[in-house]
């Protein structure tokens, strides 16, 4: 009986009994040996200089935050000429040296060859949220440049798995890689030294290295404006914020949302809850229900996939403010407004600078003035004066005449975080590690 089944096994009869062990061992040794062979004909020449950390941390502002080039009017269009002219102008006045470290990306391509750019997403590219916004940005790149090829990988977890994808993209010829999720920063930074001729760009990190740049939008500006709409709409004076992890950009968003609501309703309270996942619809639905039970009547979120929360709010008969993308069609009776991205021009700007050799890796934050972020459409039912207040705020934030985080700013324990009269820099704000007075929740 046993022998009969044994004979049917998948691979067992490949070898005679005595030689199986030998061949098995040889197979593993072969894998090892092939991996170990140090010369790889396809490998690009290695740079002699090891990456050094550039001076940039949340605190050290000078030199770490760039003021980048084309005006928002130029960026709003899609024309290659407009873009490249914008970069010509920007390069002329650029405060940064040209670095030729990323020769593969910067040098002109041979005829017929395409510049390969990798994009890695933590979720689905059709999540009506963060990843979709980033994926649409990568499609924008394809429209702007004729000679690039985009390599996309989705549903890559924020573990060392991302290294495997990055290595494969580099093998396939990618010379620029956009690691779009916050949790990719740690694993990615482990392999940047191995690939000095590849430019890694991370969305949201607060430090930069020679071939590892970071950037993120000041989307908190629109959270502030959306908070004003939420504060004016709420009848119970209780707002909800459903987030994934208490990372600095999330804390900044909830603080801005709360501050905006407070500016129109001083007694407003905000409840901050965490799901510990960028996209877990079951946890999102549970959180919405808990908020409804707690008498909260306006909620917003910092999740990657936004649809569940928006639809759950519509069903529960409360209001919702969006994030990442315009999801108003999903909730015609609940949708107030929202904060949304405009990544395409941002990517195009960075890629063009790398190709011209004018990109200097840095931690870069830009907001409304550069057109990186935008306000989503308002719900039809909103009063005209509520809309006008938000639009006025957006305009004053764009011009820089209004700085909502001007001190004194107190955290939830009552301690002064921003002293009286102090205006924090973008980089300081993006390093936020506390929740404001009036917000219930935890930062760790």
């Amino acid at each position: 009986m046993y022998n009969r089944i044994k004979n049917l096994s998948l691979f067992s009869s490949l070898f005679t009994r005595s030689s199986r062990i030998l061949i098995g061992a040889l197979m593993l040794v072969a894998v090892l040996a092939l991996a170990a062979c140090s010369s790889d004909p396809t490998a690009a020449p290695t740079s002699t200089s090891a990456p050094q950390p550039t001076e940039s941390s949340p605190g050290s502002d000078s030199g770490s935050v760039t003021a980048t080039s084309p005006s928002s009017a130029d960026l709003a269009g899609g024309s290659t000429e407009v873009f490249l002219q914008g970069f010509e102008d920007a390069a002329a006045g650029s405060p940064f040296r040209s670095t030729s470290e990323f020769a593969a990306a910067a040098k002109p391509l041979p005829a017929g060859e395409k510049l390969k750019i990798g994009f890695i997403f933590v979720g689905s590219q059709k999540d009506l949220g963060y990843n979709q916004a980033a994926a649409e940005g990568s499609q924008y790149l394809e429209r702007v440049f004729d000679d690039i090829e985009i390599l996309r990988s989705e549903n890559i977890p924020e573990t060392a798995d991302v290294q495997a994808v990055e290595e494969q993209m580099i093998r396939d010829g990618a010379s620029i890689i956009f690691a779009t999720s916050f949790g990719y920063s740690g694993p990615t930074k482990e392999i940047i030294e191995k690939h000095p001729d590849v430019m890694f760009l991370h969305m949201g990190d607060v430090e930069a290295f020679e071939n590892y740049g970071a950037f993120f939008g000041n989307i908190w500006q629109l959270e502030y404006a959306a908070g004003q709409v939420a504060g004016a709409t709420s009848k119970t004076g209780k707002l909800g914020f459903i987030a994934a992890f208490p990372i600095p950009q999330t804390l900044l968003n909830v603080n801005a949302f709360h501050l905006g609501a407070q500016s129109v309703n001083p007694d407003v309270e905000t409840t901050f809850v965490l799901t510990s996942s960028w996209c877990d619809p079951a946890k999102q639905a549970t959180a919405v229900q808990a908020m409804v039970d707690a008498d909260i009547d306006v909620l917003t979120q910092h999740q990657d996939c936004t649809k569940t929360i928006v639809e759950a709010a519509e069903r529960a008969g409360i209001f919702v403010s969006g994030y990442h993308q315009d999801a108003s069609p999903a909730a015609p009776n609940a949708w107030l407004t929202g904060a949304a991205w405009n990544w395409g021009p941002v990517y195009a700007e960075i890629v063009a600078e790398i190709r011209k050799g004018t990109y200097k890796s840095s931690v870069m934050f830009q907001g409304l003035d550069a057109g990186w972020v935008q306000l989503s459409p308002f719900g039809d039912f909103l009063d005209a004066d509520v809309k006008q207040t938000a639009l006025d705020t957006v305009e004053s934030l764009r011009t820089g005449s209004f700085k909502p985080f001007t001190g004194p700013i107190k955290d939830q324990d009552g301690a002064i975080q921003i002293a009286d009269g102090v205006v924090p820099t973008d980089a300081e704000l993006q390093g936020t590690g506390y929740l404001l007075e009036g917000i219930t929740g935890r930062t760790n």
Binding site: M1, Y2, R4, I5, K6, N7, L8, S9, L10, F11, S12, S13, L14, F15, R20, I21, I23, G24, A25, M27, L28, V31, L32, L34, A35, A36, C37, S38, D40, T42, L151, R152, S153, E154, N155, P157, T159, A160, D161, Q163, A164, V165, E167, Q168, M169, I170, R171, D172, F182, G183, G186, K194, F245, P246, I247, P248, L274, S276, T443, N444
Partner: protein, 352 residues
């Protein structure tokens, strides 16, 4: 009737003579790849191009080959975790949970025990990982012996308990205080990290499956105990009458199986992730279980099955960006291969 039996004889003769089992298995794999090619064609891609990119990205480059090796390490260990208990008639579906507990135990050593040198730290972590997995797997035998709970049920369900058990620590006491609230432990120190080989992600944990396979093979085929195990798995009553201590064999097989899955957990946290977090496994334990059944629990055949699954998993990563296929394509292909391998085997049994 006469015709049918002649036909059956002819078929049996044809299969046994012209297609030995390995050829049939390869046929099953080719069949699965052909079916998948039809899927690819239906969604408008060129199957030839997709497959050539897939194999170029896995077998045709140093990066690809090393990634295949990286995936094979946990597959082989969790595969053995299913194969060894299967020799004594146990079905261990708990490789996933045993892997998590092994990773947890190894992380505990890495974070809270300081032995100073890498030469002591790594063995200590390996021992902790092995013991963690073994104890977790051993509970299934306790339940089976004392309470008559089928080990399929208890090992399957204990997977979920293990994952939640690890969550308690990474969301709580072990959480990195500077990790922005991410449920990670702190990163391991240099002494607790398995060195990598030749500038790839392949790490020295590779030693574990190699030793595991060789030792298992020699033990099962060359020792009296291996023969006894086979007897226990074939007919426990007969084995008992022959004076073989059946329970002892069952306990040891399960402890060793669980321990090997625990070692897989240790090699993942120490060689790849460098910290403990939820979701470290990404179904490695279930993939190993699947490979073990594809290989019919034969340790040498297991290498081939794990190699195939690793090629598909790594190739799936490549296909996403170079073949423009969705990420679910990998799972579809693995499913097709498994179905056709088991299906062809079933067909063969009928013919015989």
């Amino acid at each position: 009737m006469q015709y049918q039996s002649t036909l059956r004889q002819a078929q049996g003769l044809a299969t046994t003579i012209t297609t030995p089992p390995i050829a049939r298995s390869l046929l099953a794999i080719v069949f699965a790849f052909l079916v998948f090619a039809i899927f690819i064609a239906i969604i408008g891609r060129d199957p030839v191009e997709v497959y050539s990119k897939m194999f170029e990205g896995t077998l045709g480059s140093r990066v690809g080959l090393s990634e295949v090796g990286v995936r094979m390490i946990p597959f082989v260990l969790t595969g053995l975790a299913a194969s060894i208990p299967a020799r004594v008639g146990l079905i261990n579906v708990g490789g996933e949970g045993q892997l998590y507990i092994g990773a947890w135990a190894a992380t505990g050593v890495a974070l809270y025990v300081d032995l100073g040198t890498i030469w002591l730290m790594l063995p200590a972590m390996a021992v902790a990982g092995f013991l963690g997995g073994a104890i977790w797997g051993g509970t299934a035998i306790l339940l089976r012996h004392w309470r008559n709970v089928n080990e399929v049920i208890s090992t399957l369900l204990s997977n979920y308990v293990a994952i939640l058990f690890v969550d308690v620590f990474v969301f709580g006491a072990w959480k990195n205080p500077t990790g922005f609230g991410y449920p990670y432990t702190s990163n391991f120190e240099f002494e607790s990290i398995l060195p990598t080989i030749a500038d790839t992600r392949l790490h020295l944990g590779l030693v574990l499956p190699v030793v595991g396979i060789i030792a298992t093979y020699l033990f099962l085929s060359r020792t009296r105990w291996g023969a006894n195990m086979r007897a226990v798995g074939g007919n426990p009553d007969a084995a008992r009458r022959r004076g073989i201590p059946v329970l002892r064999y069952i306990i040891i097989a399960m402890l060793v199986g669980g321990g090997l899955a625990g070692l897989a957990g240790m090699s993942e946290v120490s060689g790849i992730q460098h910290h403990l977090r939820p979701g470290i496994s990404n179904n490695l334990g279930f993939m190993g279980f699947l490979a073990s059944w594809m290989a019919n629990h034969n340790p040498i055949a297991l290498i081939g099955a794990c190699f195939l699954i690793a090629v598909i998993v790594v190739g799936g990563d490549v296909l996403q960006f170079s073949g423009n296929l969705p990420s679910a394509a990998t799972l579809i292909l693995i499913g097709l291969v498994l179905f056709s391998v088991l299906g062809f085997r079933k067909l063969e049994r009928k013919i015989e």
